[in-house]
Assembly symmetry: C3
Homo-oligomer: 475 residues x 3
């Protein structure tokens, strides 16, 4: 970082301590136990496409902000589902983006992009409408160099381990290639994560292909040779895929549910729900019950096979229906909703919350639950850890509020470290750097207010940056 004091408190006593603490964390290897980088990037190690295709088109933080000011996603290169044209010229997209650069003032996107330009691509010209071409050309030139191939960047970024996220229906071919190249497999640098939402959620539907849950369950059967027309066969198939994921290096599973509801059903009740949905006789209430039960079932599997269980609840998918209809999923149309963890997680925690074999990392989009629900739960159950602020919340202000809100009840050691959760490979270093800087600033305040001795703060910052995520995610 050229801007050495970026994000540190400006009060001189705290700033001096923050610098000292940050110096201990900044060169720690990056542990990235949860994210959405396409494993093909690292398996193929091909040069990245043009700057717009790399940085703008796939980043829904960017395209949603421009949409909010009336700039259509199609003009930013977001693919349409309905055959309507969309911009494909990288330079044109980049100019549109640069013309609206001021919208990002005060946002983490601004910070991530600026630091990526500066640190990854060594472009120091400030972006703006007049410098759009200059910045574009400079980045494009870098992308043509071999040092900017994905694996070279991976090394330069000092990433120790990166977990991608795949569906059980994925054949894990990219991860096999990575393993063959010495990059993947158990204990490898690039590993997978077991994310079974599309075979667990009876309401799942892909807007492009029309594929529904029942189709996915059938395909799960084909992949595993289990009879997934029965509930027990379905569970057996899930277990088999977990084994395959573990063989591909996975140490955790991930679950994106609308709510945090969990439910203990006996086998016959669960089977009845499963079969009702397979017959097309489900309804929203039954679907919620099945998802809630499956979280408990998956926790049991975790107890058996050791996968750390991650839960990401509270995102109302595709709230922006116009956007969904035109561009599909994962393009910025989701909105958080209030989430009840206290009653939602009670059945699961009552059953397994104190079982030393279970490790459950819970995330939130609802910061109102930090103090009231998540810190008391993580600080009161042996199995539960508190995941890093997620998505809309993975920003400097919220990372700071997270520590202010949860530390007093959960301490530092029930939190599981920063996760970048990103598709944007080039932004991984800056995202982790931001979290380390904010933690340094928070710890500096504790030291400055005589609440923690400097030597303990020094140990803690390294724990947060490196040792905690590595240990908790069994890496």
């Amino acid at each position: 970082m050229t801007r050495a004091d970026l994000l540190f408190p400006s009060e001189p006593t705290q700033r001096a301590i923050a610098r000292e603490l940050y110096a201990l964390a900044k060169d720690q290897p990056i542990i990235s136990p949860h994210g959405h980088v396409d494993p093909a990037i690292l398996a193929d190690d091909a040069p990245f496409p043009d700057p717009a295709q790399l940085i703008i088109c796939p980043d829904h933080y960017v395209t949603r902000m421009l949409l909010s000011q009336g700039v259509p996603p199609a003009s930013l290169g977001v693919r349409t589902l309905d055959g309507e044209p969309y911009e494909t010229d990288g330079r044109t997209i980049w100019r549109t983006f640069a013309a609206h650069w001021r919208l990002f003032r005060g946002t983490p996107s601004r910070l991530w992009l600026e630091e990526t330009f500066r640190e990854v691509f060594e472009v120091t010209t400030p972006l703006g409408p007049e410098t759009a071409d200059e910045v574009y050309d400079a980045i494009a030139a870098k992308l043509a160099e071999p040092e900017f191939r994905p694996r070279a960047l991976f090394e330069r970024f000092n990433i120790e381990v990166l977990a991608t996220t795949e569906s059980p229906l994925d054949d894990l071919g990219r991860h096999a290639k990575l393993a063959a190249d010495g990059w993947g497999g158990p204990g490898g640098r690039v590993i997978t994560t077991f994310r079974p939402d599309n075979v667990v959620d009876p309401e799942f539907l892909d807007p492009v292909s029309g594929t529904a849950w029942a189709d996915n369950v059938a395909r799960l059967g084909e992949l595993t040779g289990e009879d997934t027309a029965t509930y027990l066969g379905y569970l057996a198939a899930l277990r088999k895929r977990r084994e395959a994921f573990i063989a591909a290096g996975a140490t955790s599973s991930d679950h994106g549910h609308l709510t945090a509801r969990t439910l203990l059903l006996d086998e016959s009740e669960a089977a009845a729900l499963f079969e009702a949905h397979l017959r097309g006789e489900g309804d929203p209430e039954k679907a919620e019950a099945f998802r809630a039960h499956m979280l408990v079932e998956l926790a049991r599997m975790s107890i058996d096979d050791g996968l750390v269980m991650q839960l990401h609840p509270g995102s109302v998918r595709n709230h922006n229906r116009w956007l969904y209809g035109r561009h599909g999923r994962d393009v910025g149309g989701d909105i958080p909703q209030a989430t009840d963890y206290v009653h939602g997680l009670a059945p699961l925690l009552s059953a397994y919350g104190n079982d030393p074999r279970l490790r459950l990392v819970v995330y939130t989009l609802d910061e109102d639950t930090f103090t009231r629900e998540l810190a008391p739960l993580a600080g009161g159950y042996a199995a539960m850890y508190l995941g890093a602020p997620w998505w809309f919340l993975d920003s400097p202000e919220v990372l700071r509020r997270f520590r202010e809100a949860v530390t007093e009840t959960a301490g530092f050691y029930n939190t599981s470290g920063f996760v970048d959760d990103t598709r944007a490979f080039c932004s991984i270093p800056v995202r982790h750097d931001v979290a380390r800087r904010i933690d340094a600033g928070f710890l500096a305040r504790l030291v400055a207010e005589h609440r923690l001795p400097l030597d303990e703060a020094a140990e803690t910052i390294v724990d947060l940056a490196y040792r905690l995520p590595k240990g908790i995610f069994r890496l």
Copy 2:
């Protein structure tokens, strides 16, 4: 301001930057696109009454605080509905108020009143039980001078445009007078706002006159010559009144609803609800459905006629039943409630949220929704803007928390600038000044933490103070 550094961070680096930024904002003209100043004040331009009648009796921030410590509103000159006596002597009221001055320590009322005394009335004697008469007399003396007439103050306050708020049943006579005097009409200095709650909410009832919604609907028919016994006639009448309001300078409408619920009904369903209520066959659920539907209907009208649509949900009116029974509405008996914007606004936003012709400014009394709901919605829909912190929240601490909470997801440019929302004409400058100071302090921190260059912060503070509200409210 004599107290040059009022409300700035005390950390010297930030304070120095805040001063520099504030200097750019402080002399910007005041844009007041939403408030409750009585237009008669400016239409008649009569001298203000005594200090207590001007400052204490109508200010429910003040009377509710004294009530909370056992001082009856009647002793503060709040008119009773039941014929019980109430204090009318200005000096007596003022003394009671001054005797409880310490209650306001740390509140925005303290700040507003103190700065109003100092800046508007040039009274620098600190208020207190012993100085009550001295301050009273000094203000009373000023009120007798021609420079303290409303229009003279308006000029001195450097107000560029002030929007008042009227019901569709208002004849807009005061605004006609203002237009005749060169003060009102389209593009004028004093304009109106279309606030149709009393003809939109089937549960509306005026406790004094006994006038109910159906009476108001009938009167709407008389005013417009439309047959408001039918739903289509009712809609036509609303459209006619909107035209009249636009002719009186209005650029926005305003809607105070209990919840943020919206609902798309087809015409026959809406007509059936309308008619059921007219026949006296409504119920709370039907009333909520009708209000929810009408928000969508009014959004359609906005798309047609260009009025910016403001939504103020979440106030439980007349929670304090004793106060309501004795003194009626708008005297400090309302209490906020939790508000669900994510599901409430979904139908409206699905239909028109990306329509470039709609402009929807949403306010809240529930700051728990800043990060979780409002910033994601405003940062993801083209039509939606985030209104300034409202009412209980229009205070220094919350104005700061608002920027800290929403900027990272919505940026600065999806917020619509400060609104004073006040009945208290003399407090308008200080309210805007407080917002400018807090924004200066917030931006100063971003600069001091190297998150925003000074030149961009300088442009932003003027945008927030002047250009954004002027542009977004089409002024």
Copy 3:
């Protein structure tokens, strides 16, 4: 305090003011109007047991944090209900605790324990795995000295009055002993509080003894000579016990309910609910209605007999079922839930919220309600006061957020001062000291930002530390 600036803002201007303000508060006598110290401690004035029995085993803040990292409560000396063995050797317990000391970094427990070691026991060796025995021995040595008997400490702590909490079924024998020794009774140093939950909540059940609500109601009848098989007899019995509590010095009652719901039933409806539950024909809904009604009934009793009414809602008791099954109640298994005060308290406040004879102090575990609900209610009803941040929230960060959130709407004078709410007698001074330091820091910021003159801040800090709790709790 050796660490003179503990918890003060590190910015020099604010720190200097904070020191000045804190100097005015630090030697004020402690008013402790709500807590859970066992009155036997002071009645018997026996030496305290070993350090672990005194400090670790009964402190569920400590045992729950260790449980959250997999350390079983039984290994920390928490008594089991099922006959399973639990550790009883103080030194062994202490070593286990010390081995996990780093878990408490950044928590209030760390602060309380460290300051208790330092200030109460004059042990300055930093605790850690290597120093466990040294610290243990040093504290044990002090505990053997007569200066460390409870009454001697009480004097040294400068406690003016300490309220314990008893059930109406308690015979108040310890308080009689205290009164006989000149320590208790009306106006005494150690007084009781009337906490009738176990005779008011029809769902009450003691997991150890099996005692249920109906058993308690019967015993209430025996104690008072009233026929508690009837509703009117039950009310009469409650009134008699309140008289007895007042005679033992009580000035307040306390009510721990799952929700803040209140309900006005007429006598026959209430009697029907009461009798249904006595007959074993209750259900959760009826139980909630009865509790809600009883809050109104108890408010009426308060109006008659002058007991200040405290309400503590929102704790989901025994959320951790494993912990409850093994170790019972009050060992760290409770979790907060979201609480609705606005609608919950409306019936009670509508009936008596402006009655000058009622004084209702409301607490919360849900800080999301600070600005939205509690500050507006306390700042709008004469009878209501806002209790100090409770339990999970009685920490430096939340004490500061509390002032930042509520002061602007409720002021300082609708808050009722700090309550330590603790079982841990030796931690009382540090808990009050933390609150005083945070208030000093908050007021210092107001002064540094020119929002409050120093002389008024100086008066306010003494009000908060001493005069307000003393006055509001009628001590």
